[in-house]
Point group: C14
Chain length 96, copies 14
């Protein structure tokens, strides 16, 4: 197994793990926030404007963390500096 | 085991893991959101419009995370840049 | 153990794991949703139309995740691009 | 250990795991749904028709997941494409 | 360790695991269902016919999963196609 | 370590594990069922006939799972087809 | 490490594990049953005959599982067929 | 590491584990039973005779499991048939 | 596997893990904070100014921890001093 | 690593583990029993004689399990029959 | 793998782990503190000055622990004495 | 690694583990007991003499387990019979 | 890998682990203490002096444990006696 | 890796683990005790003298366990008899 393969395998594994497991926390957190919003709406329908607004701000902040994970996965697959360096070094060796 | 095989195995394993485990969080979160929506509907049937609307926005945001996972799996199976690079390098070696 | 065997073993293992474990989250979530629907029906029988409708939308969204897992398993068993590539390469080597 | 053996062992192991563990989620979910149905029946005997109907729809959807797992196990034992390919390749080698 | 032994060991291990662990989920689920049935009977003795009927349908569906596990164990011990194939291949080699 | 030893060791290990761990689920489930039966009896002594009957049916169904595990252990120790096949093959080799 | 030693070590390890861990489930279950019996007695002293009778039946069924585990341990230590077969085979080899 | 040493090490390890972990379940169960007995006594001092009697029967049955574990440990340390057989075989070899 | 590859693989793995798992705690914490804010708003709409202000300060402090994790990931991918030192040392060796 | 060392290491490890982990269950159980005794005393000061007596009997039975663990540790350190046998066999070898 | 690489890899791994996991405790703790502050504000708006002050002191103390973790990570990446010593020793060897 | 080193390493590791983990159970138990004592004091200040006395007896019994762990650690570090035997045997070998 | 490197790697790993995980317990404990303080303040604003004083004493004692962990980490990084001894021994060897 | 290094590494690892994990139990226990003390103070401000006194005694006893852990860590780092013996033996070997 040469260097290129090791880097490719590590990138594939981490891209999957980061997205696959990293969305668990935000998903549960959003599920909780949405649930409580629904309870609050049923309990106090008059405050629905404030509740909805606060809910969306909160969901946005929680969603931001899932997006960090997705961004790291995408960087690892499509813009991986270690892979680029390894490819360049192989090309350089071949061009000699 | 050559490089191609390693990359293929890693892609297969992570495609399965990412979808298989990555849907656990969103599934539980949606189950919770739906449950609470049903309780709220039973408790306050008059607010059903607001509750249903908020529920669907929430489900959409949670579902988005399961879709991130599914997308990463599909990328790993059908549009894997590391696999393409390895195939190209093998073809190039054979074409020499 | 040659390349074909490694890919076959990895596909078998992940097909089982993805379906076997990936249905745990949706199953628990559906169990929760159904339970709460029953409680709500017992508590507010008049709202049964709204409750049933919301329940079925929710179950459909949760079931979709179990189906993602099943689809990934089926792709790994019956439409695995890595396996096809490996078979083709073996056939090509034999045809030379 | 040759290729055939590896594939056989992997199939045996995953057939057992997929059924053995994959029924845990649905079993717990059905246990919960049945329990709540019984509570609801005791609490609101008049709504027993609606409750029973909703319960059976729910149980059917949850049972479907256990059946996905059982189907994957049966495919791995009795209709395994990788095993068939390996057997065919061995027969072909012997027939040469 | 030859092929026959590997297959035998894997079958023994999975037969035990599948039954040993696969009955945990159904057992807990049945325990829950029975418990709630008893509570409901104590609370609403008049509905005992409906409660008992629903309980038995539920227990049957949950028991079905434990039986899937037991069936897979028995198939692995007494009707294992991989073992049969391996035995046949050994006999064929000896008969040559 | 020859084939016979491997099969013996695997059988011993799985016989212990299957009984040792497989009784945990049923034991907890029976503990729960019995506990709730006692609570129900204390709460509604008049329904003791129905409660006791339902409890015994439930305990029988749960106990059946512990017995599946015990049966598998006994099969692995005293009626193991793989062990018999291995013993037969050794005897045959010695009788040649 | 010869065959005899492997079988002895496996038997020792599983005898300990089966009893050591297999009593955890029954112990917790009995603790629960006894606790609830005490609560019920304090709450409804008049029903003490029925409660005590039901408790003893329940304890007997739960204790039966701990005894399965103990029996398996004793079989593994004092009536192990694999050990006997191995001892016999060694004696036979020595007697030749 | 010869056979004797392996058997000795395995016996030492399992003697410790069986007692060390096997007392956890009974200890927790007894703690629960005693706690509930104290609550019941505080709540219904008049029934103290029945409560104390039931408590002692329950403690005896739970303690019996801790004693199974201790007995297995003592057998493994002081009356281990595998160790005796190994010692005898060594002595026999030396006496030749 | 040379030094460069080891450092690249370790950086890829930790970048993924740090972001993927490090966002779990903050996500759950924000989910909790948002949920309670919604409950409080529904319960005391008059105090919405104070509640919203305190919520945003709290979210900012919790978010700061997710950002620590993301920063560490970015440093490991794009400004890794160990990688730079290794690259420099390789370049120096090549320039000699 | 000779036999003596293996036995010494195993004894040291198990002596620590048995006491270190084996006291966890009894400690938690005693903590629970003491806590409930305090609650009961505060709730029913008149029954303090009965409560205290029952508490001490219970503590004694729970403490007995911690003492089993400590005894096993001490046996393993100071009265280990395997160690004595090994020492004797070394001395005998040296005395020849 | 030479010494420099080992130290680099260990530093990278621990820098990620320390920040990635070390923020979990403080994050959950802050989430709890903020949640309770919001509940208290909704319940007793008059005490908002005292509540807010106590909250900020508490958040500061909890945040301090997350900062310990971040500081250790930064020390490991940018001011690692072991790395500096290793670099110096390599430079010294090269300068000889 | 010679015998002395193995014994030293094992003793160091177990001394740390026994104290480090073995204090967890007693610490949690004491925390529980103290907490409940405080609640009881606040609820029934008149019974403070009985409560305090019972608390101290309980704390003493729980503390005794932490002290068992500490004693085992100290024995392993400062009065380890296996280490003494090994040292003596080395000295004897050197003195020959 | 020579001695120096092993000691450096171990020190780096433990410095990170000790701080990274060791702050989890204190963080959760402080979060709990602060939360309860806020609830108490909202419930009994008149006792704020006593509550605040007790809170700060408690936080100080809990913080002390996080500081023990940080101190151990700092000792391992900057005042490690084993590292110093190893450096000294290397210098002495070089100076010979 | 020679003996000195093994002992150094083991001491470093255990010093970190003992303090890092061993403070978790006491920290959580103190957090609980402080929390309950605050609740009790808010509920019964008149008993503050007794509550505070009992709290401090309890904290002292819990803190004592954290201090055991810290003491063991310090002994392992600065007064390790195994390290001293190893150093002495090396010095003796060098002085010969």
């Amino acid at each position: 197994m040469d260097s290129l393969t090791w880097i490719a395998v590590a990138s594939i594994v981490m891209a999957g793990l980061t997205t696959g497991f990293g969305t668990m926390g935000p998903a549960l957190a959003e599920g909780r926030a949405v649930s409580v919003a629904l309870t609050s709406l049923a309990q106090q329908p008059d405050a629905s404007a404030t509740i909805t607004r606060t809910l969306f701000v909160g969901l946005a902040m929680i969603e931001s963390m899932a997006i960090y994970c997705f961004v790291v996965s995408m960087i690892l697959i499509f813009a991986n500096p270690f892979w680029n360096a390894a490819i360049a070094s192989v090309a350089q060796a071949a061009g000699k």
